[in-house]
């Protein structure tokens, strides 16, 4: 049953991508991708529920479905569905109808590679899946073929490839460290590494973990390795920005989390955590500085992603059941919320014909349906109640205090307040600017507004009320990961 579901989840985007390449028609590609994303979203939710029974292995232990992986699958599936709905309306405006089949083929392929990375049970194959996500998404980032998008695509592939080659070195060192315990040839599954970890040489384990952290941290967009992120997020088409931010970053974060449990088992967890916390605070700081003085609307969202990845890194870095549960919850919240924000930014950008925040004004009056939604999203993403992000950030702050990271908790709280003010100040300008300006209504299609509703509604619900099943799931996730902590 579970195996069949995983297979369906992989085959749906694979078949959609292959058919797009063969048929090469925009309309069909659109429908195929939408259908695939619907299948992925439904199976992803089901798999998340099924994953509560503990880890399950398939195909000679190459594939795993565990709580952590399933959570990333859930985020990816939901964002993929939302972005697919959105791109039906959005991509028709881009004016590349002849090449639209390429877009959808790559889009489905991109979703497939992220899902693959989440179920890989072998550290080497996980690395390859992450590398593949880069290769596929590079061409999505450069899809619009302007000088800016090609520049962004080039920076993206060079920086990320160089970064994750460090992760490969770290992976190799972990294998080497394990080979002292398990013999020269063994399958580098996560649990094999965890089992070997207590007897690993601590110096080698630290070196390996730091390499992996910097490597996958580049892909996650943790400062100071975030340089590619604002460019790629701001220059790609809006649905791809949402996928990059809401799905891809989580996929790479998963690697860090998995290696963190290995570092914990190797009794070098405290140093590993401190490093992760330091990267988290640095990301928040960079995010805050660039958000306050930002001029591009999508770059604003991109730096907000840097900030939120920092928050998630802090959650995992603090650790403990609270930190882990908060970080995972924040992952889902951020995925949904940031998708809605990028959709709104894309809509406004297309309607106003500019990427500059200064050129956007009077959104409140000119977009009576989308305007309030986007503003609600902005309030949510800065961590204001009653949305889910308030809750998850609060949980992470509490975890920081409980686990003795007072300085990081204080820095996090202060920077979140700075970001709250800076971020919403931009929205004040865009919504309630000078009154005599152009008041023509912004045209936004229903395809482009519907996914914003779909993303924000669960955020509001989860901010106010938690079903008991979800609560139980989080307790299970936190204990599964926290169980191997010192």
């Amino acid at each position: 049953m579970t195996a069949a579901l995983i297979l369906i989840m992989m085959l749906a985007p694979a078949i959609a991508a292959a058919t797009c390449v063969v048929v090469r028609r925009a309309q069909l590609a659109e429908i195929l991708n939408l259908a695939a994303s619907l299948i992925v979203a439904v199976t992803a939710v089901t798999l998340t529920v099924l994953s509560a029974d503990g880890p399950r292995y398939f195909w000679n232990h190459y594939i795993v479905l565990d709580l952590t992986g399933a959570w990333v699958i859930l985020c990816t599936g939901l964002v993929y569905l939302l972005a697919s709905i959105f791109s039906v309306g959005y991509m028709r405006l881009v004016g590349e109808n002849d090449r639209l089949w390429v877009f959808y083929a790559l889009f489905a392929g991109f979703a497939l590679t992220i899902l693959l990375s989440a179920v890989m049970n072998n550290a080497g194959l996980y690395w390859i899946a992450i590398e593949l996500t880069t290769l596929v998404s590079t061409f999505l980032v450069g899809f619009e073929r302007g000088p800016e998008s090609i520049e962004a695509a080039w920076k993206y592939i060079i920086i990320v490839s160089a970064g994750i080659s460090l992760a490969l070195l770290g992976t190799l060192f972990f294998y080497w460290a394990g080979s002292f315990v398990l013999g020269p040839t063994y399958d580098m599954t996560w649990e094999a590494l965890r089992a070997a970890a207590p007897k690993m040489n601590p110096a080698l384990a630290v070196l390996a973990f730091l390499l992996v952290l910097v490597g996958y941290g580049t892909k996650v967009g943790l400062a100071p390795m975030h340089a590619w992120l604002p460019d790629a997020h701001s220059e790609s088409p809006a649905p791809i920005s949402a996928m990059l931010s809401g799905a891809l970053l989580n996929g790479a974060m998963l690697g860090i989390v998995r290696y963190l449990t290995i570092a914990d088992a190797a009794t070098v967890g405290s140093l590993a955590r401190t490093a992760l916390v330091a990267f988290g605070v640095a990301s928040l700081l960079v995010g805050a500085l660039f958000i306050v003085r930002q001029e591009g609307i999508k770059r604003l969202m991109a730096y907000s992603s840097v900030e939120h990845m920092g928050v998630i890194a802090l959650g995992f870095g603090f650790g403990g059941p609270l930190g882990i549960a908060g970080a995972f919850y924040h992952m889902l919240n951020h995925s949904l919320n940031k998708s809605a924000m990028f959709f709104g930014a894309g809509n406004v950008m297309r309607a106003c014909g500019s990427k500059e925040i200064a050129a956007i004004h009077g959104v409140w009056r000119r977009a009576p349906v989308m305007g309030p939604l986007w503003l609600a999203g902005a309030v949510a993403i800065t961590g204001a109640p009653p949305f889910g992000l308030f809750l998850s950030e609060l949980v992470i702050l509490r975890a920081g205090l409980e686990r003795g990271f007072a300085w990081a908790t204080a820095a996090m709280a202060a920077l979140l307040i700075v970001i709250f003010i800076g971020f919403l100040n931009h929205f004040r300008g865009m919504y309630f600017g000078d009154a005599e300006s152009d008041a023509s209504p912004l045209k936004v299609s229903a395809w482009c507004i519907a996914p914003m509703w779909l993303a924000l509604a669960p955020l509001l619900v989860l901010g106010l009320w938690w079903p008991s099943g979800l609560w139980a799931h989080f307790v299970a996730v936190a204990h599964a990961l926290a169980g191997v902590q010192p």
């Binding site: 590079t138 080979s179 930002q294």
Partner: protein, 226 residues
Amino acid sequence: MLVTSLTPFAASIISLLAIVSLMLAFVMLGSRWLNNYLYAIAAESWVIAALSAAVGVVGHYPELYVIAALTALFRGVVLPWLIWRIIRRLNVAREIHEILQPSSALVAGALCVIFSLTVAYHVGQSLGLAGTVAVLALTVMLSMKLIGFLMLAVRHEALSQILGLLVLENGIFLGAQILVPGMPMLIEIVILFDLLIVVACFGMLVQYLVAHVGSTSSLDLKRLVG
């Protein structure tokens, strides 16, 4: 553990091959002609193939012969050919505005090697492997990593950057052959293929750079800031 059970002769052959590939990385650092980079990377790949075969012989790992053959074929022939095609299309023969003179780059490279040696020495000591090939392998691996990053940082032609990434990869691959020769073959083969796809993607992107940005120098990529 292979590295502790080598005969002096085997150890010196492996050391020699590792050092030759490090030297070839320096050839790239000291030149400003793209063709030289290409020859150096091709030669380095052949040296690594020879190293795989040598480790296969002394460590009795027959699957390493397959890896050696594939390395020679893919890294030594197909990859250089792909890159040669890109160079031919580009009309760029050399680095024009060096950020760092080749001579200064060589000195910087030497500093990288010294740093790597220090790290490798300490790791080797804590593992009880001081004085074995492992320390040399670690040194070469880390220095090639740093030299690759140095190339990425101080060279700005698109092709130099691709080749810088290949130096990074070569370093890891070389270290893997010596330190963990028993690594499952599947992984190594997938990584080899992965590299081909990477370079193919780079090739396509370079063409876009020419067509849409009008330059292959990263110094001209300055539209996106802040």
